[in-house]
Symmetry: C2
DNA sequence: TCAATATTCTCATTTTTTGAGAATTTATTT
DNA sequence: AAATAAATTCTCAAAAAATGAGAATATTGA
């Protein structure tokens, strides 16, 4: 292992449980000589990806906060969706969390979340946490709208799966037909998820808008109302995205810019 | 340039103005052959630091959201300060934004912000945005409490500066004596900043808690009240930090863990 | 001040990276 | 559906950089 992989490996050591590392510990965990790790860490510190905390302990650095802000400010999905989430939690009239989640490479991740004022529970889905692909309304509604090729890559080809796989395929087909997905206690016991797709192929955006609420407080009419709310909010976000992308605000290669 | 620098250089291309890049554009901007940039970008995409959006356009990737969450969850300063900020904006009884900011390498950056409910203005200080070292209460109060050696490195030695430099030195000494700093319209016109230091040397934390409010709405007694609020909140956060760090929750090198 | 520990440095060797262009894949247009 | 254009990957020899062991140095705490 060398080059970028080395940097990756060091950063991946940091997680919720182990948020502070000494160089000898990293060296030990990675099976790489200390002198090499010192060099790698020095580069990462210089780039702001790690910071020297104290007593030779290192933590994740400010670059992540900085890039995260950039992402929040410039991600078209975040821009288009923030307002919608606000409206959704306001109009839900029940304790809930609204999420905008998105397929990134091969995982689903929430990119914006907003809780209603009086919400005491916490959803496992939260901004920045990778979520399982095949569980929860949020993820399923995304899977259901994936191009066949991509879906096969993510969950395997239709044939080479057992009964559970076939069931998932059927469920996804059903979700796709309905245009939304409702689940209960799939991610968090006692919590229901209601999700609708936000698909803007032209922008390469495959996402979902979802609502998490206490399942025991939902009767059928409530549920229908919330589904309607989520579905319409999701299509609104998709519409806004399409509109926003019409004049592509991207940096073109120089030779193209010159032509203008 | 090579190795880590190449990755850094690519990532640093992304900012508020240019949030989406094609490979030819990057190649052009960096003066590096396309084939090399393609390789670099491929690595960054694999690591989640970039994502292929559409039409060969790349954006910042989900890894930043993920690491940012990790940072929020595990940074002792964030953990100790979140509640305090909440209390501060609640007790300020005026539209305001409360910030917890910190010295990272050689820049000041806000790591948590919270606005009071009825706050319409926005402070330039916001989570994830690097701020000037020598302007604004938030930064000054941090500078004022830096060890001499570090301060010299950041703003230059006492002798080799002009009149402005000497004035800054005097101001910092004064702030240090008082234990807080109040400024007006230094960062944003019409906004006042009130900051107090959060220093926990044992943890390598040099930070500040600050409040940004509409200067025209503050009379002297208001200002005194808010200074008191900020100063006491800051010392509370520092206290909590010291307490939290007593049993050092860090990953020790293996040979130390074995001894236990 | 003195230990103990952390960090950087040195340098020959090994391993990558690099870049130019060809080859291939992918998307778009006709 | 073929043709065109663009994007992306591949190839390979030369050049550059990373590696690791240990020495040298800096930093820190007692």
């Amino acid at each position: 292992m060398a080059g970028f992989a080395r940097f990756q490996a060091v950063l991946r050591l940091f997680d919720e449980k182990a948020s502070a590392w000494t160089v000898p510990a990293m060296s030990d965990a990675l099976g790489v000589p200390a002198s090499t790790v010192y060099r790698t860490v020095r580069d990462l510190v210089a780039g702001g990806f790690l910071e020297a905390a104290h007593e030779s302990v290192y933590r994740l650095g400010s670059a992540f906060i900085e890039y995260d802000r950039l992402l929040r400010l410039t991600d078209p999905l975040v821009a288009a969706g923030r307002g919608a989430l606000h409206d959704v939690v306001a109009q839900a009239h029940t304790p809930c969390v609204a999420l905008l989640s998105r397929l990134y490479n091969d995982q689903v991740m929430c990119v914006v979340d907003e809780a209603a004022r009086d919400t005491s529970f916490r959803s496992s889905y939260e901004r920045g946490r990778p979520m399982p692909l095949t569980q929860g309304a949020t993820s399923k509604v995304i899977l259901a709208h994936l191009p066949a090729r991509l879906l096969n890559r993510l969950i395997g080809a239709p044939k080479d799966g057992g009964a559970r796989h076939a069931a998932l395929r059927r469920e996804l087909a059903d979700i796709r037909k309905r245009g939304f997905c409702v689940t209960a206690s799939e991610i968090d016991a006692g919590l229901a998820g209601i999700a609708a797709p936000v698909i803007v192929r032209e922008a390469g955006i495959i996402a979902s808008l979802s609502l998490v609420a206490d399942d025991s407080r939902l009767d059928d009419s409530q549920r229908r109302r919330l589904v309607l709310l989520v579905v319409s909010a999701a299509s609104l976000v998709a519409e806004e995205l399409r509109y926003a992308l019409t004049p592509p605000a991207i940096v073109e290669p120089r030779h193209k810019m010159v032509k203008q």
